[in-house]
C-alpha cells in the first residue's frame, strides 16, 4: 500500500500525472462556477446543460464529419446555451414553473441527442466510434492533449471570475441593486452562463453526463455550510473539489476496475454529507445540540422557579421538597423531570437528601432571579405596552430565560425598582 502511495504521489508515471492534474483542474473550475449557479439558486442548470450538449456534439459531427474536439466543443457549447435560453423563455412566457421547464429542456434535448447519436452509429461511419465518451466520461484515459484543453478552460474560467468577481457577486445576491448601480446585469449573466456551459462541456468528458451536475453543485453546497463569505466559500469549494479529484484518481489507480469519475463524485458527496451534519454553525448535529442546550436551560430554570414558588408559599426556601410537591407547581414530563434535577444537583444548585431535594444558596439566588425577571417583564408589559394583566404571563414565560443582566438593570431602573407585579405578587430582590 505504501509503495503504491509513493508511486502515485511521486507522479513519475506520465499517465498518472495526466489523470490527476486533469481531474483536479476540472474539479476546481466546475466547483468555482458551481458556487455562482448555486447562489443564484440555479444549481440544476448544470444538469440541463450537461444533457443538452449531446445533440450539439452529434450535429457538429454530422456537419463536419470528423471528431475534431474543437468542432465538437463548439457544437456542444451552442446547444448547451440554447437549452438555457429555451428554459428561460418558457418560464418567462407561460405559466410553466422553473422546475418543469428544467426537466422539459433536459429530457427533450437529451432525447434529440440520443436520436442523433443512434442515427450516426447506425450510419456505418467508422469515424463515429468514441463519440459516446461524452456520455459516460473517460477520466482514467486522459491524455496530454486533453490536459492542455482542460488547463486552458480552467485558466479562462478563473480569469473571468477574477476579473468580474464583484459583478458576479452582485448579480448572485442582489440583481436589482446591481441594476441600479449600473452593472450590466444581462451581459454579466450571459458571461456567467457562458463559463458555466464551458465548464460543463469540458467536464463532461471526464465524468459523464449525469455526474457532471455533482461537479458543479456538490462542492458549492458543502462549502456553503462552512462559510457565509463568498470568497471563503470559493476557496473551500475548490479545496473540496481538488481533494476529491486526487482521491478519485488515486482510487481508480489502486483498483483499476474502479471508475475515476464516480469516485470523484463519491468523495465529493461524502464531504458534502459530512458538512451537512457536522459543519460548525450550520450543521444538522450542531443545530440539534444547540437546541438541546437551550431546552436544558429552560428546564433547569423552570425547575428552580418551582422550588422558589413553593418557598414563597411556605415561607421557607431551603426546606426539602419531594418530587410530588415540585410537580404540583408545574407539569414536567417524568423523564425530563429526573434529568433536570440530576443536572441541577450536579451543578450545585440543589442538594439531594433521601429522595427529596433542597435548594442551595446558589440555587435560591438563580430561582429568585428567574421569578424576578418574570414579574418585572409582566409589569413592563402592563405599564408600557398597556397589555391587560391576564395576557402577559405567556410572554413572560419565554422572555424570563433570555433577559441579560444589563437588560435586567435597565428594566429595574425604568420601572423604579417596583415591589409588586400586576398580579400583586412580590418582586424579589437579592
Amino acid at each position: 500500500m505504501k509503495e503504491v502511495f509513493i508511486e502515485f504521489f511521486g507522479m513519475q508515471n506520465p499517465n498518472v500525472r495526466y489523470v490527476v492534474l486533469g481531474s483536479v483542474l476540472l474539479s476546481i473550475s466546475s466547483a468555482i462556477v458551481g458556487c455562482f449557479t448555486f447562489l443564484k439558486k440555479k444549481a440544476l442548470v448544470g444538469d440541463v446543460v450537461s444533457h443538452a450538449v449531446l445533440p450539439g456534439i452529434c450535429l457538429s459531427f454530422i456537419v463536419t464529419g470528423t471528431k475534431d474536439p474543437f468542432m465538437l466543443i463548439i457544437g456542444a457549447f451552442i446547444t448547451g446555451w440554447l437549452s438555457i435560453l429555451v428554459m428561460d423563455y418558457i418560464v418567462q412566457n407561460s405559466k410553466i414553473k422553473e422546475d418543469t421547464a428544467t426537466g422539459l429542456a433536459l429530457s427533450v434535448f437529451f432525447g434529440i441527442g440520443i436520436l442523433l447519436l443512434t442515427v450516426i452509429q447506425h450510419s456505418g461511419n467508422a469515424a463515429q466510434s468514441g463519440l459516446d465518451s461524452f456520455l459516460f466520461g473517460k477520466a482514467a484515459a486522459l491524455i496530454g492533449k486533453d490536459l492542455l484543453a482542460f488547463g486552458l478552460i480552467a485558466i479562462v474560467i478563473l480569469a473571468t471570475v477574477f476579473l468580474f468577481y464583484k459583478e458576479f457577486k452582485l448579480i448572485c445576491f442582489d440583481p436589482d441593486y446591481a441594476e441600479a448601480i449600473g452593472v450590466p446585469v444581462k451581459k454579466m449573466e450571459m458571461l456567467l452562463t457562458s463559463i458555466t456551459v464551458m465548464a460543463v462541456v469540458t467536464g463532461i468528458q471526464a465524468v459523464g453526463v449525469v455526474l457532471m451536475a455533482a461537479m458543479l453543485i456538490t462542492p458549492a453546497a458543502a462549502a456553503r455550510f462552512w462559510s457565509d463569505r463568498l470568497s471563503f466559500m470559493l476557496v473551500l469549494a475548490s479545496i473540496f473539489a481538488a481533494l476529491s479529484g486526487v482521491s478519485g484518481a488515486f482510487i481508480s489507480y489502486t483498483t483499476p476496475s474502479m471508475p475515476t469519475g464516480p469516485w470523484i463524485v463519491m468523495v465529493l458527496s461524502l464531504i458534502a454529507v459530512f458538512s451537512f451534519f457536522f459543519a460548525p454553525g450550520k450543521g444538522i448535529i450542531i443545530k440539534l445540540l444547540k437546541r438541546r442546550k437551550i431546552q436544558m436551560q429552560l428546564l433547569e430554570e423552570n425547575l428552580l422557579k418551582s422550588f422558589y414558588k413553593i418557598g414563597e408559599i411556605t415561607e421557607d426556601f431551603k426546606a426539602a421538597r419531594s418530587n410530588a410537591e415540585l410537580k404540583e407547581v408545574r407539569r414536567f414530563s417524568s423523564g425530563q423531570f429526573r434529568e433536570g434535577l440530576n443536572r441541577l444537583a450536579k451543578q450545585g444548585f440543589i442538594k439531594r437528601n433521601n429522595g427529596t431535594w433542597s435548594l442551595t444558596a446558589e440555587g435560591l439566588q438563580k430561582g429568585r432571579r428567574v421569578v424576578r425577571l418574570h414579574r418585572l417583564w409582566e409589569l413592563y408589559l402592563t405599564k408600557y405596552l398597556r397589555i391587560a394583566p391576564d395576557h402577559v404571563h405567556e410572554d413572560a414565560e419565554t422572555i424570563e430565560h433570555v433577559i441579560t443582566p444589563e437588560l435586567e438593570a435597565r428594566l429595574e431602573k425604568l420601572l423604579e425598582y417596583p415591589d409588586e407585579d400586576p398580579h400583586s405578587s412580590n418582586i424579589p430582590y437579592n
Binding site: D47, L106, F109, I114, S257, M258, I284
Partner: protein
C-alpha cells in the same frame, strides 16, 4: 406485430407517466422525478445481486422503497440542513447514481451484471444499443405485462384517493386543515413514480421516463386549467409521441426512445407556439355598452 407491441408498450409508459406527471408538475416536483429515475440505479444493482429478476415484483417493491428513500433524503437535507431544494436534489441523486455506478464496476465480474447493459444501456441512459432498436427481443410482451400491472397499481391508488391527491397538490395547507396528511400522499406518489421508472427503463430508458413524466403534462398544462382534463390530455399527447416517435425512429433508423422524446418536445413546441400566437393576438370581444 412487433410494431404494435412497441407502440402499445410506449403508450403504456406514456399513460402511467402522464397520470403521475400531472401531479408532479402541480406540486413543483418535476425535478424530483428526474432525481428518482437516476437514484434507483443502486437499488437495481442490489436487486440484481440478490438474484432477483428485473421483472419480479420484488424489483418493483424495492424501487418503491428506493424512491421513498431518495425523496426522504432530499427532504431531509432541505428541511433539517436548510439546503436549498435544487441543490438538495442535485447532491442526492448524483451521489446515489455514483454509488450505483461504483457498485456496477465492483460486481462487473459477476455474471448477473453486465456493465454495458446497466451503464451504457437502458438503465443509466437511453437505449443506444442497436439490439434494442431492432425491437422484439427487448420490447417483448414481458415489459408489456409488467407495465400493465404498474398501470393497474397506479389507477388503484389514484382513483379511490383522487380527492386527496388533488387537494394536497393544490392547497396543502387546506388539506392539512381538514385532516389530510400531505406527507403520506407525497411519499405514495413518489413511490409510484419510482415503480414506473423501474418498470419502464427496460423498454424506454431513464431519460425517456422523465420526458414522458414532464413533457406531455407540461403541454397539457398550457391549454387547460382542470386537473382531469390535464391528465386526459397528457395521456393523449404521450400516446401521440409514442406512435409518431416509433415511426420516425423506424424511418431514420435511430433510437425509439430518443425519437419519442423528440416528438414529445416538438409537440410541446407546437402547443407553446400556438398559445404564444393566441396571446399576442387576443380575441377581441365586443365592447361593453355603457348604458
Amino acid at each position: 406485430m412487433n410494431d404494435l407491441i412497441i407502440i402499445v408498450t410506449g403508450s403504456l409508459v406514456a399513460i402511467c407517466c402522464g397520470i403521475l406527471g400531472c401531479f408532479l408538475i402541480l406540486r413543483k416536483m418535476a425535478m424530483v422525478s428526474d432525481a428518482i429515475s437516476h437514484a434507483v440505479l443502486p437499488g437495481i444493482v442490489i436487486a440484481f445481486m440478490l438474484g432477483s429478476d428485473l421483472d419480479s415484483i420484488w424489483m418493483l417493491v424495492g424501487a418503491g422503497l428506493v424512491g421513498v428513500f431518495t425523496t426522504f433524503l432530499i427532504e431531509f437535507f432541505h428541511r433539517q440542513g436548510k439546503l436549498q431544494t435544487d441543490a438538495s436534489i442535485g447532491v442526492t441523486f448524483t451521489w446515489l447514481f455514483a454509488i450505483g455506478v461504483i457498485m456496477v464496476s465492483y460486481y462487473a465480474g459477476d455474471a448477473h451484471i453486465d456493465q454495458d447493459c446497466v451503464l451504457y444501456g437502458e438503465i443509466a441512459y437511453v437505449p443506444i444499443d442497436p439490439i434494442i432498436t431492432d425491437s422484439g427481443s427487448v420490447l417483448g410482451p414481458k415489459a408489456l405485462i409488467v407495465l400493465s400491472i404498474v398501470l393497474l397499481v397506479i389507477l388503484a391508488v389514484i382513483l379511490p384517493f383522487y380527492k386527496e391527491f388533488f387537494l394536497t397538490s393544490f392547497d396543502p395547507a387546506y388539506a392539512a386543515a381538514i385532516g389530510i396528511s400531505a406527507t403520506i400522499w407525497h411519499y405514495l406518489l413518489m413511490s409510484l413514480v419510482s415503480i414506473t421508472t423501474v418498470a419502464s427503463f427496460e423498454s424506454v430508458g431513464a431519460i425517456l421516463v422523465v420526458a414522458f413524466l414532464i413533457v406531455p403534462p407540461a403541454t397539457a398544462y398550457l391549454i387547460t386549467t382542470r386537473l382531469h382534463h390535464m391528465i386526459g390530455l397528457s395521456c393523449v399527447f404521450g400516446i401521440l409521441a409514442a406512435i409518431l416517435g416509433y415511426y420516425i425512429a423506424y424511418w431514420i433508423d435511430g433510437s425509439i426512445a430518443g425519437a419519442m422524446a423528440t416528438v414529445a418536445g416538438l409537440n410541446f413546441g407546437f402547443v407553446f407556439g400556438w398559445t404564444q400566437i393566441k396571446k399576442a393576438r387576443p380575441v377581441t370581444s365586443p365592447p361593453i355598452s355603457q348604458d
